[in-house]
């Protein structure tokens, strides 16, 4: 027993939130006391968040998982021989054989939880920078064509074809262009951006560098929300290392290409996740939405042609380049190509991240992967796509999770978050919350959103209190129509989606 045994204890914020640091410290202390040499790698999360802190032990057969581990469990795990991967009630066998993990199609999250997030060597040993190395030998038009052919669409929610956006920026004449990553992941029920930034930050750096090569930009910004302090720290450190190892900066690996990248931290404004509000915020202004046109691809940051893409879009780019457009395009359903990292959240037994090709049913996600509600009570509603997404009733969970099927059903996929509610939820309260959230977070530029949300909250207060319900329901319907048709951006325009879906599917809560 002289060679150190390698253990993995995640450094992901979700794992830290339930004591991963304390578990790592307890393992080190226990190993020292027993004079057993161990080597601890602080990896990203595997995405099986209900098992966090998930400790893995490296064995010749693969990594063996134990979780959720508390510091109090550590001594008994040693007693049981977990360093030799022996059984224990917290043991789950080989990590990659766990049902939840085994059946995923991990393209974007392929390395997340596997590698040391801040090791370039580890990143490259697992296929990292292969996409960029190819891109460095291609012309901008060739890169854009590859991405267009892959069918990749914007993962932020709108689903706009990425290649078409890039082509607009590529063909816009300008002395200066920008690549901006929207990492203002404010939707409740979503954490994929945070997880990939904390678990595989070089992937985002690689994706943004490829984007810059494709459109002719030399400067990039990541707009990262302040509520994610761990992600900010990890990404800044990764950028520092990338500069040090010549993956960022001037003349990257002698290619003649320059790309500079900087993290900018948001300040608690949800609407800054809207691309033009984000650009205003990056310019140091109030995060007020801009009228379009002009589109950011032509007049974006500081008035220059700018690619604005979500984290999950940009982190899908390296695999498209590395494996080719056809490989990526073969995943998915209909016009939704590739994979989507779905996030299972709220009242769910097995919450976490599940990356699968588009087209999986919501039912499979919630039950086969998620295991139903955490409380064990009947499931009543699933809000899909964040605070601006529809509430889907249990009876409609057979819906296919792809852009078109969701839109047809009057819902949206958004950023791929699913928030599960059991039968204790009151849907009139959730409808009121949607309006309250909009009132709180509206940028204030357009009247339907700014005033409409406040009036919406007031009307729903009356409905919840049972005051003149029939008349107020008509008023609420009217108000929703005005907000949908008259708002400048998705904030006011989509707030009626959760409200109206709650009314449509759960009328008994409004009667």
């Amino acid at each position: 027993m002289s060679a150190a045994i390698t253990l993995y204890v995640p450094r992901d914020a979700a794992a830290l939130s339930v004591g991963a640091d304390q578990v790592a410290a307890a393992i080190v202390a226990e190993a020292e006391a027993r004079k057993l040499p161990v080597h601890i790698v602080r990896n990203g999360s595997r995405g099986m968040l209900w098992l966090e802190p998930l400790v893995e032990v490296a064995t010749p057969a693969g990594r063996v998982a134990y979780g959720p581990v508390t510091p109090e469990n550590v001594a008994e795990l040693f007693d049981a021989g977990f360093l030799e991967a022996k059984p224990h009630p917290l043991g789950h066998g080989l990590t990659e054989e766990i049902f939840y993990f085994k059946h995923q199609q991990r393209l974007t999250f392929a390395r997340c939880g596997v590698t040391d997030p801040l090791s370039v060597a580890d990143y490259q040993a697992h296929g990292g920078f292969a996409g960029l190395e190819k891109a460095l030998k291609m012309t901008p038009a060739e890169i854009v064509k590859e991405v267009t052919d892959s069918g990749l669409r914007g993962r932020g929610g709108a689903g706009f074809p990425t290649g078409i956006k890039w082509n607009t920026v590529l063909n816009a004449p300008s002395d200066e262009k920008f690549v901006c990553c929207n990492a203002d992941e404010g939707d409740s029920g979503t954490f994929a951006d945070r997880m990939i930034i904390e678990g595989d930050p070089f992937l985002l750096i690689e994706g943004m560098t490829i984007t810059a090569l494709a459109v002719g930009a030399r400067q990039g910004y990541v707009y990262l929300r302040s509520e994610y302090p761990h992600a900010v720290e990890t990404l800044r450190e990764a950028i520092r290392i990338a500069y040090e190892q010549d993956w960022l900066g001037s003349n990257i690996h002698g290619s003649g290409h320059d790309f500079h990248l900087e993290v900018r931290v948001g300040a608690g404004s949800y609407v800054c996740g809207e691309e033009t509000a984000m650009l205003e915020s990056l310019e140091g202004k109030r995060g007020v939405v801009r009228a379009k046109p002009p589109i950011p691809a032509l007049e974006g940051l500081f008035g220059k042609p700018t690619v604005v893409n979500n984290v999950l879009t940009l982190t899908s780019v390296p695999v498209v380049l590395a494996q080719g457009a056809a490989f990526y395009r073969d995943f998915g359903a209909g016009r939704s190509h590739g994979t989507q990292p779905f996030q299972l959240a709220g009242n769910i037994a097995r919450g976490g991240l599940v990356e699968l090709a588009f087209g999986v049913s919501l039912h499979d996600l919630v039950y086969r992967y998620g295991g139903g509600t955490a409380t064990g009570r009947p499931l009543r509603a699933v809000q899909v796509g964040g605070p601006l997404g529809a509430y889907v009733p249990e009876s409609q969970l057979s819906l296919s999770a792809d852009y078109e099927s969701m839109a047809e059903a009057g819902a949206m996929l958004g950023h791929g978050g699913l928030v599960v509610f059991d039968d204790s939820v009151r849907m009139d309260h959730m409808a009121r919350f949607a309006m309250e959230f909009c009132a709180e977070e509206s940028c204030g530029k357009c009247t339907p959103c700014r005033i409409g949300s406040t009036r919406g909250r007031e009307v729903l207060d009356k409905i919840v209190a049972g005051i003149d319900r029939a008349a107020n329901m008509i008023l609420l319907e009217d108000l929703c129509t005005v907000m949908t048709d008259g708002s400048l951006c998705a904030m006011g325009g989509l707030t009626p989606l959760p409200v109206k879906s709650a009314i449509r599917h759960f009328p008994e809560d409004f009667a």
Binding site: E227, P229, N347
Partner: protein
């Protein structure tokens, strides 16, 4: 969370150190808040001067963003998530518990300066809610007993 007392000289130096950035106002405000715990009213004219903006523009930016504080927070800041995913896991009860334990409402600082309690919309810990940020420590699977332990 020990913040330095407001000092105009120090503030000016912080502002100057960020002047080379494009769109520097938010980074400057973050740096000032990091140093002093809040953005003092006297910072606005310094920022306006440095960036060639009007004081009104600077004030407009400070007040637009939830994150920037205009007065000293408590020694400990508890930011509890009230968004949908945490609601689905019973954040309402956690908020009620915190209000009665700390004796303050959301958005308030206790008279003895010990605690500030704030609502936040989503901390990205939506599978392990209810969640809160206690100072810079993210906490998940919160129960009244667990948060009491953290605040003890």
């Amino acid at each position: 969370m020990t913040a330095a007392a407001w000092n105009a000289e120090r503030a000016r130096a912080i502002i100057d150190s960020h002047r080379s950035l494009r769109g520097a106002l938010l980074p400057m405000l973050h740096a000032l808040q990091e140093e002093f715990g809040y953005v003092d009213a006297d910072a606005a004219p310094l920022l306006a001067d440095s960036l060639n903006l009007s004081k009104a523009e600077v004030h407009g930016v400070i007040t637009f963003y939830h994150e920037f504080r205009q007065s000293h927070p408590g020694r400990h800041v508890v930011r509890v998530c009230v968004a949908e995913a945490c609601q689905a896991r019973g954040s309402d009860k956690l908020v009620d518990h915190l209000k009665s334990k700390l004796g303050i409402d959301l958005g308030e600082t206790r008279a003895d300066g010990e605690f500030t309690l704030e609502a936040v919309y989503c901390l990205g810990n939506c599978a392990l809610g209810p969640s809160a940020l206690v100072d810079d420590q993210l906490m998940g699977r919160l129960t009244p007993a667990r948060i009491d332990g953290a605040l003890a």
